[in-house]
């Protein structure tokens, strides 16, 4: 099998497509891990930022 890959892999295996798939999977896994670790209170603070104290400006 290795002989085949070494001899023909350059032409017959779409390395770029494989690379792109691996990149995609890696990116998503890293992002998903990063996101699952967030605290709820932090998330709730961030998501309400646009709604904070805009209309009730103290003149």
């Amino acid at each position: 099998m290795y002989k085949y890959i070494l001899a023909n892999g350059g032409e017959s295996i779409n390395w770029m497509a494989i690379f792109s798939l691996v990149t995609f999977v890696f990116l998503f896994v890293v992002s998903a891990i990063a996101i699952w670790g967030r605290s709820k209170s932090y998330i709730s603070h961030m998501e309400t930022l646009p709604l904070d104290l805009d209309e009730e400006n103290i003149q």
Partner: protein, 713 residues
């Protein structure tokens, strides 16, 4: 309360950008409408060089993207950034330099593009002095934006701001990358890259102009204005994080989907296709986040026109970001490329996503800025329905036209010959669809006028607050220090520079992987011995082709399909384009492909065709170019052009450069003689621009003429 600071938000700059967004919106759309009418009734070209379709089309695209959407971005950014960070903009002076500088650039575009001063790179047509001005103004915007971020009172940066940061850095990289050019004169330059490499760099830029000018900043605006309008937080902040990073990383790779089945190497095409498909995930992440923010509030959408506009905008975004990836599949692209389907797709995005979100934002903003209610909710609702109808009338006929034309191009008779061998048949067949599209555009613009009336009445009824005074906790109090074990993404959100650096790395990867091998590995563009540089006269003809915007209707890239090789000749090889600066592969076939035009028709055919296209092609919608016959060919820059191209790598000899003008005149005389033999006689014909154009057109695709044919000639 003693730690509260009093400061004010700058609403003046927001108002300036808001007004000018509406103004340029109308201008850009009316230019588009003119272009639409020109495709149905060529008399709308008005007989002037400056108003022909080829010059008007880039004026429309630049106005719509940079004038309308650009000012819309700045409106939203200047409003939201201050409030999300609880601080005034870093510098009022920079804000105003940014505003006036941007408008000056737009005016420069409005002057130069109709004059034919163009680099022929789509959405980057503006020549090098204006490119420098864009860079300067963009830097001013960047300093102002980052200065504001650094002096913020709110420690954490909301997701909208990451989108603004990613926008800023990526547009910087794209603008520099696609505008690497060597000037010949004040208004003419040649790109550093040629042929296939130029094509790849152009569409790395072009698709990411869509990504990072039409999409990411508007996603930022979506993440601010939809929660504000609905008065509820975004559906999932976690989703916004994951789709941000995925989007900015993946989008960059998608450029080659504009070059499928061209002579771009297969590995690059595959990357473009696969990454475009992967892009569905983060794009729909954004769409879902926007729409689901309204869960439980759909009854408000029924009554609130602002929310209506935003819902249609986000839906159109979802539609376009599904359609785009599907069109990036090679087998689908084999049908859609060069057709009006692409135009339909573009306008779902621009009219639907950008247009409707801009309108929603303006309808929400004006009452806030003027401290009053919207003048007429009824009119706003009417605009909503008018705009939505306009989009449907625009896009659906173009899908119909695209499929019709594509299928007609590909149809063979049982005998094995093309059923519609005359390209013109495929054009006249779709004119009714063009008429419907023009109606759609008219309806859409009509809606914008309704909006402008409503906004002006709103402004008049209210009182503008130029400096909106607010209070917020002081920076020293608001900023808490970092703590051990803090999660890395929270750390990034507190540190704008690190976010900038990581975003820059994310967006550079795709470009480097795709472009670097194309530029450095020679095998990617196999050389062809017989391909030679253009002669001086052919080069001047090529520059006239660029000036007149022929690229807007004619492609120069024959794909390896039997339907194309039967119609046009041998499919295009990458090695044929190594001296093409800029590349002129084109994106649309309103007229036929020209890559193998050389030698197909006699010189006199080209003369008659340029003078009056209907004389050789009855029913043609191509505008006439009589000024090519009337105007003298200017050879003042010819030597400088050859010298510049030699510097960039085209192998002109010193002798060729020294004799350029003489050689051009000699070749022109030969063509004039040939015209005379066919009965076209005119005083001084050999000094007119038409001979240069004929020289160029007759050269196209002849470098690899089969030997038997070459011998016969």
């Amino acid at each position: 309360m003693s730690n509260l600071e009093t400061f004010s938000y700058d609403n003046r700059i927001v108002r300036k950008f808001a007004y000018i967004t509406a103004v340029w919106g109308v201008v850009g759309m009316l230019v588009g409408l003119l272009a639409a009418f020109q495709l149905i009734w060529p008399s709308f070209n008005l007989g002037f060089a400056e108003t022909t379709f080829g010059r008007i089309r880039p004026l429309h695209t630049n106005a719509a993207i940079f004038a309308f959407v650009g000012n819309g971005i700045f409106t939203g950014v200047y409003y939201s950034l201050q409030r999300l960070l609880k601080t005034r903009m870093f510098s009022d002076t920079l804000s105003n330099i940014h505003f006036w500088g941007w408008q000056a650039i737009i005016l420069a575009a409005a002057l130069t593009l109709p004059l034919g001063i163009t680099s022929a790179k789509e959405y980057a047509e503006l020549e090098w002095p204006i490119d420098l001005a864009i860079a300067a103004v963009w830097v001013v915007f960047g300093i102002n934006m980052f200065g504001t971020i650094l002096k913020r009172r709110e420690q954490h940066m909301y997701v909208a701001i990451w989108f603004y940061i990613a926008t800023w850095v990526t547009v910087t990289v794209l603008h520099i990358g696609n505008n690497l050019e060597l000037p010949v004169s004040l208004w003419k330059s040649y790109p550093v890259f040629a042929g296939v490499q130029d094509a790849l760099v152009q569409w790395w830029y072009g698709h990411n102009a869509v990504a990072f000018f039409l999409t990411t900043p508007y996603l930022g605006l979506m993440y601010y204005f939809i929660p504000k309008a609905a008065n509820r937080p975004v559906y999932s902040y976690r989703l916004s994080i994951i789709h941000f990073w995925a989007l900015i990383f993946i989008y960059i790779w998608a450029g080659p989907h504009h070059l499928l089945y061209t002579s771009l190497p297969d590995w690059a095409q595959s990357l473009g296709m696969v990454f475009s498909l992967m892009l569905i995930a983060p794009s729909w992440g954004g769409m879902l986040n926007g729409l689901l923010t309204l869960r439980g509030a759909w009854d408000r959408v029924r009554n609130d026109p602002v929310l209506k506009f935003m819902v249609v905008a986000v839906t159109a975004y979802g539609m376009a970001t599904l359609e785009g990836p599907l069109m990036s599949i090679k087998s689908v692209n084999a049908i859609s490329h060069y057709t009006d389907w692409t135009i339909g797709h573009v306008h779902i995005g621009t009219l639907g996503w950008n247009g409707m979100l801009t309108f929603g934002m303006l309808y929400w903003l004006f009452p806030k800025l003027y401290n009053t209610k919207l003048y007429s909710t009824k009119l706003a609702n009417a605009h909503f329905w008018i705009g939505t109808l306009g989009i449907l009338f625009y896009a659906i006929p173009l899908y119909w036209a695209g499929w019709t034309q594509s299928l007609m191009w590909k149809e063979f008779l049982p005998e094995g010959i093309l059923k519609y061998g005359n390209f013109l048949e495929t054009v006249t067949q779709i004119l009714p669809m063009y008429m419907l599209r023009a109606i759609g555009g008219t309806i859409y613009v009509g809606g914008v006028f309704v909006m402008i009336y409503n906004l002006i009445k709103t402004a008049r009824a209210g009182e503008f607050v130029g400096d909106e005074e607010v209070q917020a906790p002081a920076r020293a109090v608001a900023f808490t220090g970092g703590h051990k074990g803090e999660y890395w993404h929270r750390w990034i959100e507190r540190r704008p520079i690190q976010l900038l650096v990581f975003a820059t790395i994310a967006i550079l990867i795709g470009g480097l992987v795709e472009i670097f091998p194309m530029v450095t590995i020679e095998d990617n563009v196999p050389k062809i011995e017989s391909v030679k540089p253009y002669t001086a006269l052919e080069l001047e003809g090529r520059d006239i082709y660029i000036r007149e915007g022929c690229l807007g209707c004619h492609s120069q890239m024959i794909r390896p399909f039997r339907s194309e090789t039967e119609r046009y000749g041998e499919y295009s090889k990458s090695g044929e384009f190594i001296y093409d600066r800029p590349f002129l592969w084109g994106s649309k076939r309103t007229g036929p492909d020209l890559h193998r035009l050389g030698g197909k028709y006699p010189d006199s055919w080209h003369f008659n065709h340029m003078y009056d296209p209907t004389s050789t092609s009855p029913g043609s919608i191509m505008p006439p170019y009589p000024w090519l016959i009337e105007d003298e060919l200017d050879l003042d820059l010819t030597v400088a052009k050859l010298k510049t191209l030699k510097t960039l790598g085209t192998p002109y000899s010193e002798e060729e450069i020294a004799n350029a003008v003489e050689d051009a005149r000699a070749q022109a005389a030969t063509i004039a003689e040939s015209l005379k033999r066919d009965g076209i006689e005119m005083e001084g014909l050999e000094t007119r621009e038409i001979v240069a154009m004929i020289a160029y057109l007759q050269r196209l695709g002849t470098d690899i003429k089969p030997k038997a044919q070459a011998d016969a000639e």
